[in-house]
């Protein structure tokens, strides 16, 4: 079931939470609403569910207008950030709730309900906890039960509000994979809200980046990471190294730093954005660029060694970060305080007088 969102405006008193949102969420895909807190992503999700009413705009499920349809009749599955399990009911009663409140005519018989609950609990691999109460469960278990409860009504749309937000890193990763495989198996349309860019990029087919109640960009994870439309998206999607300077005759300069740009760059004030993996470290300056640094910190944990760099003889708002392999690190053994140079391979140039960024490639 696809979701079409058209011209949504939402106000909380005088504060406008959403500005003219237009978006299509394709059938059977996993879509992430990504943004910092206050960007309106949760409000949009709640509007899709029917938990909030927009002042303007329409919501359609596969072409059918559901804007004026009550939450209880929209038949979507909703998973809350803090699980919202019914605290006085056992796990099995929680999962059976949706079935038990069906009108008598539509309600399956007791044995049928029991069987459906058992199947659902097996699906989330928690059948052994059927008679426990929510307080006796861990966060990860609670979230699985919340998912089983939402799935009990066999919804074609599943909405998840920061589903992994309250969990610790390890459980989060595990649940993420599990949700992905569940989605691939059952093919419902899912929308989930997150402020974690890694989660959004790893899990979804399509990412909607939001900020201050507006949609910034809608794209697949690969496109989004490779070609961000704006500085905001670039900065929000992970670590970024920025050089601000003036372009004169194909060279961008600021203080002691300069980079020779590929052909075709107009004279302008500009900012060059570089991802940590798009930069190499060398001991000497090259003819491509002169970006002197002092090593500020070295972080060995992880697949790469992350090196924090402080500009030497020029300025930037935040320290640069460059990743080098452990092999390279062991060969050269850079120390705190060492002087070194960065050489860009790929960069993204935002000019003051250009609407769109240009991707530069020196390789």
């Amino acid at each position: 079931m696809s979701i079409e969102i058209q011209g949504i405006n939402k106000f909380f008193d005088k504060f406008q939470a959403l500005h003219d949102i237009n978006l299509t969420i394709p059938d059977g895909q996993l879509t992430a609403l990504l943004g910092p807190s206050g960007s309106g992503k949760t409000t949009l999700l709640r509007i899709i569910a029917g938990l909030e009413t927009p002042e303007e705009g329409r919501i359609r499920f596969s072409g059918k207008d559901v804007t004026d349809l009550h939450v209880r009749d929209r038949r979507v599955g909703f998973v809350f950030q803090h699980y919202a399990l019914f605290r006085h009911m056992t796990v099995a009663e929680n999962v059976a709730f949706g079935l038990n409140v069906l009108p008598r005519k539509e309600r399956p018989g007791k044995p049928e309900i029991r069987k459906r609950v058992k199947d659902l609990l097996e699906m989330v691999q928690l059948a052994h906890l059927a008679n426990r109460y929510p307080t006796q469960l861990s966060g990860g278990q609670k979230q699985r039960i919340a998912l089983a409860r939402a799935m009990a009504m066999r919804p074609e749309i599943l909405l998840l509000d920061e589903p992994f937000g309250a969990l610790d890193a390890k459980v989060r990763k595990e649940l993420r994979r599990w949700l992905r495989s569940l989605h691939d198996e059952l093919h419902f349309t899912s929308v989930f809200v997150t402020h974690d860019q890694e989660e959004a990029l790893e899990l979804s087919d399509q990412v909607v980046v939001m900020s201050s109640g507006r949609i910034e960009q809608v794209d697949s994870p690969v496109e989004l990471y490779g070609r961000p439309d704006s500085r905001f998206v670039f900065e929000f999607l992970g670590q970024v190294n920025v050089l601000s300077g003036k372009i004169r005759d194909g060279i961008m300069r600021q203080g002691d730093a300069w980079i020779r740009l590929p052909e075709g760059c107009e004279n302008d004030d500009a900012q060059l954005y570089l991802r940590p993996h798009e930069v190499r470290l060398t001991q000497d300056a090259s003819d491509r660029a002169h970006l002197p640094f002092r090593i500020e910190a070295i972080n060995l944990i992880g697949a790469e060694v992350r090196i924090e760099l402080k500009p030497d003889g020029w300025e930037c708002e935040e320290l640069w970060e460059v990743g080098i392999s452990h092999t390279e690190f062991n060969a050269r053994h850079p120390q705190r305080g060492d002087r070194c140079f960065a050489v860009p391979d790929v960069g993204h140039l935002f000019c003051e007088h250009a609407a769109e960024p240009t991707t530069l490639d020196w390789r």
């Binding site: 809350f80 803090h82 038990n100 409140v101």
Partner: protein, 276 residues
């Protein structure tokens, strides 16, 4: 060194012991002894005397009236309290904060003043009372007046127990319920009510205790007509003024008994609440 225990700040044995001693002494002197004395006095003429005092025509009538008033007041305030708490915690509207404050008026106002207000408004010379009088409806100096002031005095108990709890529990469970297709009534009966049941029961117990024991407001509007508008607390006073000390204490022992039962039930409910 090993024998020396770690002490925390403020944990001085001298202070602790003297505070505990003081608390025990005060409890004995001001709580336990008076309570025990009620029963000692009530049984001063032996078991037979006690029974005959209780079975006194007017005392029996006062017991009946008191239970009748409580029976009307408690359900009324239970429904009122749930509605009010629901309104205040689940909706946003102008004047919500003011309303939350106004709930406490019956606690802030002296019950005698409350009684006088009702008398002025609904008495035969009052604004509403005159109008009602034309239809031969008399509220004051009869049981409806007693119920009215009792409802007024006890109306905050349930709401005040529920509001903080419902605020803390939030509306997420109710939202989860409605997304799963529950109707308004199903939501209340299956989600909201079970979540607040112990606090509600606690509020009901307090309402009942106060409704049974209320003296000030009731004494103003009842007129203390023996065998007609005398509740148990008023009957105690009347008996005492008649120099029937044993009778007064026998009637008091009933009120004290209700208080003790209330305490036990309250303790059980609190224990259940803390377990949930």
């Amino acid at each position: 060194m090993a024998a020396r225990k770690h002490r925390r700040v403020g944990d001085s044995p001298v202070v602790r012991r003297s505070l505990v001693g003081l608390a025990v002494a005060l409890t004995l002197l001001f709580l336990f002894m008076p309570l025990a004395l009620i029963f000692v006095q009530a049984f001063a003429e032996g078991w037979a005397g006690y029974v005959s005092n209780i079975l006194n025509e007017y005392t029996l009538h006062a017991i009946g009236l008191t239970l009748f008033v409580a029976l009307l007041t408690v359900p009324l305030n239970m429904v009122f309290g749930v509605f009010l708490a629901w309104l205040v915690t689940r909706f946003r509207f102008p004047g919500r904060k003011l309303l939350t404050t106004l709930i406490d008026i019956p606690f802030a106002v002296s019950p005698v003043v409350a009684g006088l207000l009702f008398l002025l408004l609904y008495g035969s010379n009052g604004w509403v009372g005159q109008w009602l009088g034309e239809y031969d409806i008399q509220l004051m100096f009869s049981w409806p007046g007693i119920v009215m002031v009792t409802v007024f005095v006890t109306c905050p108990f349930v709401a005040r127990e529920l509001i903080p709890l419902m605020q803390q529990q939030g509306r997420e469970e109710e939202e989860a319920g409605v997304v799963l297709g529950a109707s308004g009534w199903q939501l209340f009966r299956r989600v909201t009510l079970p979540n607040i049941r112990w606090a509600l029961l606690y509020g009901v117990i307090l309402t009942n205790a106060r409704a049974v024991g209320e003296f000030g407001a009731v004494s103003v509007v009842s007129g203390s007509i023996r065998g007609q508008t005398n509740t148990l607390p008023l009957q105690v006073e009347l008996l005492y003024q008649d120099y029937n000390t044993v009778g007064a204490f026998a009637a008091s022992s009933l009120l004290a008994g209700i208080a003790l039962i209330t305490l036990v039930v309250k303790a059980i409910v609190e224990w259940r609440q803390s377990r949930n």
